[in-house]
């Protein structure tokens, strides 16, 4: 076994809050070995990031390290004076952050920001620094590094910025790299690029990586060893293979169960009841006992210690494991089960979008003349069937949210039709549209921005009913509101409270109740779970699913998360740069993707179980203001031919409801038409 590089002993970090000290990290021990990727997993609020910041002594103002030692090759970092610590940061231990857009200084060129690190930590100077900066940008795979060195962060896309961040972190060749959710803000195809890069750099430089993430798929792909954190403690550490074969702690098991997979389509996802406990509380027993289905009396009375399991390096903090290791997890690698999909195809079409276009003019100059168009949505056609779910999948910036908003006329469509209930919503005057608003509602991504902080929940729910005249009178509406809260699983006293008193998941339930209040037939769900933790996501997905079963609501589910599509959706439309490139049922599209983009997108999703070869896409989504000529995807497409640059390929029907826009399938069109 390789040498231990970084050792954390009984780390305790507190945040001093008005409500009392918050024990964000409460007795964490871990070791990081050379050339190893160690993943720290957990939901938000578990103390993962605080652990990382403590290692570098970069805590926020209210934070302080109460106890513990961090040994970097035997040297105690907490005993160093601040001046010596600055020589450690960046030089020996470097960190990359989650949000590349805020981690770079916008007024300095990226070359300057990398040079800063080089000058601080190496004896290089002058031209040598600039050369080294170019080499670094080259080594993190930034094309045309010599030019990029002189550019400012705003000229770079998110993926490139994250590469610059990595280059800056690597500038002084650190021994340890702390990566705090390095890909959470990025799209899956970009995420795959960055993860590849990290793995490659690690292998080349024999660096140790402490990878902080909430995504078990990334852990499966990157880590050698795993630690699960819960409420400031490590509840389980194990080698990756052992962890994925048989997670030992009930919390770890629950995290796996809460992941949406195709096998769980028919039923409900397993959820973890309740929330992560407040860390300023005093704990007597196990911190997970409140939410654990397997808890017994001892769990509530006695805090479990990390116990080593026989026959392995795994350690777990659970009383149950004294009786032996947990059984193996059922791996979920089976193909999509064929359920009653075909039956759904006969449901009547509820809403049909035809050749929808949303263009935003680019105005310039004093007179604001239109000099161009951002073609956010450029000819999208899709159909949502009553009581079914159509998933609209694509990377950020591809225009999927714009489609959802334009269908509801929250954005003015530039062209096209939205046939709904015998009328074209895209061209109705505002007064007539108002009467039809009841039938279509929307749920947003960010639960914190979607509720007015100045309105009580009762007013939030009543707003739509009052505006659209749902309910006979106030008492009737009160009765309906009580019923709504029950439907979404919230207590009746919720009505009198304000949104800030609720957690993200609860807010999302309120937002769902608000949409349900006017009894819509179709709800546009705009990434409703992407801001939530896995266990909370499972609760919301279960809720949406059961509502669909009971009330027969159709969903247009906008997401970038393929596993949710597998769990929830009946049909899928894949979008790229304002156009739909492939449509079909879930089994068809996910099981047998035709379009090269769909193939690449699916292969880039990190999987918890099993391996698959990743189709690597070079580059990033082009700007919709200036799309590539011909097929929009051809600059990134591994199968592109010169012909692809000529014209945008027409959609080719490949059977009922299945279509794909790719030149490769023109021949099959010829067959089907003949």
């Amino acid at each position: 076994m390789s040498e231990v590089l970084l050792q954390v002993l009984d780390l305790r970090t507190q945040l001093d809050m008005p409500a009392g000290a918050l024990r964000a990290v409460d007795g964490v021990d871990l070791e990081l070995r050379q050339a190893e990727c160690f993943a720290l997993v957990g939901e938000s609020g578990c103390g993962k990031s605080m652990t990382a910041l403590s290692l570098l002594r970069l805590l926020p103002e209210a934070g302080r390290i109460a106890e513990g030692r961090v040994l970097l090759e035997g040297q105690d970092l907490f005993a160093l004076p601040e001046a010596a610590m600055r020589a450690v940061r960046g030089r020996r231990v470097a960190m990359i952050f989650q949000e590349p857009s805020t981690a770079l200084n916008p007024v300095l060129t990226v070359g300057r920001q990398i040079a800063e690190v080089i000058e601080r930590h190496t004896p290089l100077a002058g031209e040598a620094v600039r050369r080294r900066a170019r080499e670094l940008l080259d080594s993190v795979g930034i094309p045309d590094a010599a030019r990029r060195v002189e550019e400012y962060p705003f000229q770079l896309s998110g993926g490139l910025k994250q590469r610059v961040m990595i280059a800056a972190a690597l500038a002084a060749e650190p021994e340890v790299l702390i990566a705090d959710e390095p890909t959470t803000a990025l799209d899956v195809t970009i995420q795959a690029q960055i993860l590849d890069l990290l793995a490659k750099l690690q292998a080349e430089r024999r660096m140790a990586i402490l990878l902080i993430t909430h995504d078990l798929g990334i852990v499966a792909r990157m880590a050698q060893r795993v630690a699960v954190m819960y409420a400031g403690e490590i509840v389980e550490t194990a080698a990756r293979s052992d962890f994925f074969r048989a997670p030992q702690h009930p919390y770890s098991q629950k995290l796996f169960d809460a992941l949406p997979t195709p096998q769980k389509r028919g039923g409900q996802l397993s959820v973890i009841a309740g929330q992560v406990p407040q860390l300023n509380a005093q704990f007597r027993g196990c911190r997970f006992a409140e939410r654990c289905e397997l808890a017994f009396q001892r769990c509530r009375d006695e805090a479990p210690q990390l116990i080593a399991l026989p026959g392995g390096a795994a350690r777990v903090r659970c009383h149950l494991r004294e009786q032996g290791a947990a059984p193996e997890r059922r791996a979920a690698a089976a193909p999509l089960p064929a359920d009653a999909q075909a039956a759904g195809a006969s449901e009547p079409v509820l809403a049909e979008v035809e050749d929808l276009k949303v263009h935003f003019p680019i105005r310039k100059g004093l007179l604001k003349r239109t000099v161009g168009q951002v073609k956010a949505v450029d000819g999208v056609s899709l159909a949502v069937r009553a009581g079914r779910t159509l998933a609209l999948v694509g990377e950020s910036g591809c225009g999927k949210t714009t489609v959802g908003k334009a269908m509801l006329r929250l954005l003015p469509p530039s062209a096209g039709k939205v046939a709904f209930d015998g009328a074209d919503l895209a061209s109705l005057p505002r007064s007539e549209l108002r009467a039809r608003r009841r039938a279509m509602q929307i749920i947003f991504q960010d639960p914190y921005a979607s509720l007015n902080p100045r309105m009580r929940v009762a007013d939030v729910l009543a707003e739509g009913m009052r505006s659209l005249g749902v309910g006979r009178d106030e008492t009737d509406r009160q009765r309906r509101m009580a019923a709504l809260l029950e439907q979404v699983g919230l207590p009746p006293e919720t009505l009198a409270r304000y949104p800030h008193e609720f957690s993200g998941g609860q807010r999302q339930r309120i937002a769902i109740a608000r949409a349900l209040a006017v009894e819509p037939k179709l709800i546009v769900c705009d990434e409703p779970t992407s801001a939530l933790d896995v266990s909370v996501q499972a609760q919301i997905l279960n809720l949406l699913k059961s509502l669909q079963e009971r009330l027969g609501i159709a969903y247009l589910f906008i997401t970038h998360n393929i596993s949710i599509v597998e769990f929830l959706a009946h049909e899928v439309a894949v979008m790229y740069l304002g156009r739909i490139v492939e449509r079909g049922t879930v089994e068809e599209v996910l099981g047998d993707p035709k379009h090269p983009y769909t193939e690449a997108l699916l292969s880039a999703v990190p999987m918890v179980d099993g391996e698959r070869s990743i189709i690597r896409l070079s580059g990033e989504l082009p700007s919709p203001a200036n799309p590539p000529a011909g097929c929009h995807f051809h600059p990134r497409c591994p199968k592109a031919t010169p012909e692809c640059r000529q014209d945008y390929p027409q959609a080719v029907a490949l059977g009922r409801g299945r279509s794909v826009s790719c030149i490769l399938y023109r021949s099959s069109k010829a067959e089907s038409s003949s």
């Binding site: 008005p18 209210a62 908003k405 509801l408 929250l410 549209l433 108002r434 608003r437 279509m440 509602q441 929307i442 947003f444 991504q445 960010d446 921005a449 979607s450 509720l451 007015n452 902080p453 100045r454 309105m455 007013d459 707003e463 739509g464 505006s467 659209l468 304000y498 937002a511 608000r514 949409a515 006017v518």
Partner: protein
């Protein structure tokens, strides 16, 4: 006979509006919580005590009446004086009526300049004559320092007595109702205030504590009378500024398009004209109107009051651009938020979205702007009156006091007390207002929350 001036109506309207706003805040947690944060700050509580003193004086000065003249014939209908007085004038009758001939220094017993004095034996000398009222009770002028010391001690004793009474009463009531407020800061501020006011009150009974001005009027009285003008300018201006700023700001930010362009052009243009020039021109036009319509203003008090109100209106009409700009920016941001989109999806009308969603979410900006602009307006009045385009020259205000100081400072011996009095009073008022405004900003600004 009560004789309320137009500005009195507005002042009391504002008091009523503030009272109902306070009630509204107490019913809405999203407004009550920031105010509670404001009053957790010791500086805010202490400055609130000082401000309360100023506001108290200002409100006393905002109840006007015309005294009944002594009737010559008891059967005749009562006749009222043309002179308009306020409750403050009534309380300060001694200060108001005890006019000297001309300048005298603070706590002096004699005039500042020599005059020919007729002696009882018929001869005359040039000497500093005794004041008509200041120190008149002294048999021997050599007792001056002893008398002053005695009065200070008596004043402090009085202050201590009042302070203990207030603190005792306050502990029973206020401290129980709002236990989170640092009442000790209030008690200390009150002690300091009373320790000043007590001796001053005792001294003012026998002397001109801050001297007299050119026409022999008491400077302390003038300073106290100036408070109302400052407060009126600082608060009534907001009555003009608020509707303009809010309406222009949030409609521009919400509707965008040509409305936004129009509002932006208006406030950019308005901001490009030098403010003083615009104010001077408007005030002079108002003055011409007053001079050509004497029938509308039967008393000089009404004339001065009209000019004061016009000044408020003009300042407000010039000053709303800052608020509108802030609100436009915030509304642009808010209008993108999901809850506004959700309201659109429900077909909620524009008016309701503006009043229910936008307005409550920009209240903090309005409150912060108003409190911060108060001290600026108080200072603006002083500057404008100094250059002669502020309040009516007959009105006593800090600005007119400073204006008079132009000549006084050039005299030999120098007359410094008018300017010093105006300076100290304005400084105390503006400092207290600024400290309070800082606490309000910290309490309401969501970004500074720890």
């Amino acid at each position: 006979m009560l004789f309320p001036l137009a500005s009195d109506y507005l002042v009391w309207l504002l008091v009523a509006a503030l009272a109902s706003f306070a009630y509204y805040c107490s019913r809405n947690p999203h407004l009550a919580a920031p105010w509670a944060r404001v009053f957790r700050s010791r500086a805010a509580v202490a400055s609130a005590v000082v401000l309360a003193f100023f506001v108290g004086v200002g409100l006393l000065d905002s109840v006007h009446y015309r005294p009944r003249l002594p009737a010559t014939d008891p059967a005749a209908p009562p006749v009222y004086s043309v002179e308009v007085r306020s409750l403050l004038d009534l309380a300060l009758t001694r200060l108001r009526t005890r006019l000297e001939i001309t300048y005298s220094a603070p706590l002096a017993t004699r005039l500042l300049q020599k005059e020919r004095i007729e002696r009882p034996d018929g001869t005359s000398v040039r000497d500093y004559p005794r004041l008509r009222f200041g120190g008149q009770h002294l048999k021997d002028e050599a007792d001056l320092s002893q008398d002053v010391a005695l009065r200070i001690v008596a004043g402090l004793a009085l202050a201590a007595a009042v302070w203990s009474l207030v603190v005792l009463a306050g502990r029973r009531t206020l401290a129980r109702r709002w236990p989170f407020v640092p009442w000790d800061a209030a008690a200390i501020a009150l002690a300091a205030l009373l320790a000043l006011a007590g001796p001053v009150a005792m001294l003012a009974a026998g002397y001109h504590v801050l001297g007299t001005n050119q026409v022999g009027s008491d400077v302390l009285y003038q300073a106290l009378k100036s408070i109302r003008i400052s407060l009126v300018i600082g608060t009534l201006t907001t009555l003009v500024l608020l509707p303009l700023g809010i309406a222009a700001g949030i409609t521009a930010g919400y509707f965008k398009g040509w409305l936004d362009d129009a509002v932006q052009y208006v406030y950019t243009t308005l901001n490009s004209i030098p403010g003083v020039l615009l104010i001077a021109a408007s005030v002079l036009m108002v003055q011409v109107y007053i001079d050509t319509h004497p029938e509308l203003f039967p008393t000089s008090a009404q004339r001065a009051d009209f000019r004061l109100l016009s000044l408020c209106a003009i300042l407000g009409a010039v000053d709303w651009t800052g608020l509108a700009r802030l609100l436009r920016g915030e509304t642009l941001k808010l209008a993108q938020l999901d809850y506004i989109e959700a309201a659109h999806a429900f077909g909620v009308s524009h008016v309701r979205i503006l009043t229910r969603h936008i307005l409550p979410n920009v209240t903090h900006i309005v409150v912060i702007t108003l409190v911060l602009s108060f001290s600026g307006l108080v200072l603006a009045e002083a500057v404008l009156s100094y250059i002669g385009v502020g309040v009516d020259p007959s009105t006593i205000s800090f600005g007119t006091m400073i204006n008079a100081a132009r000549l006084e400072m050039a005299r030999e011996p120098m007359v410094w007390w008018s300017l010093a009095a105006a300076f100290v009073f304005m400084f105390a008022l503006v400092l207290a207002a600024n400290l309070f405004a800082d606490a309000v900003r910290d309490g309401f600004d969501p970004r500074v929350r720890v």
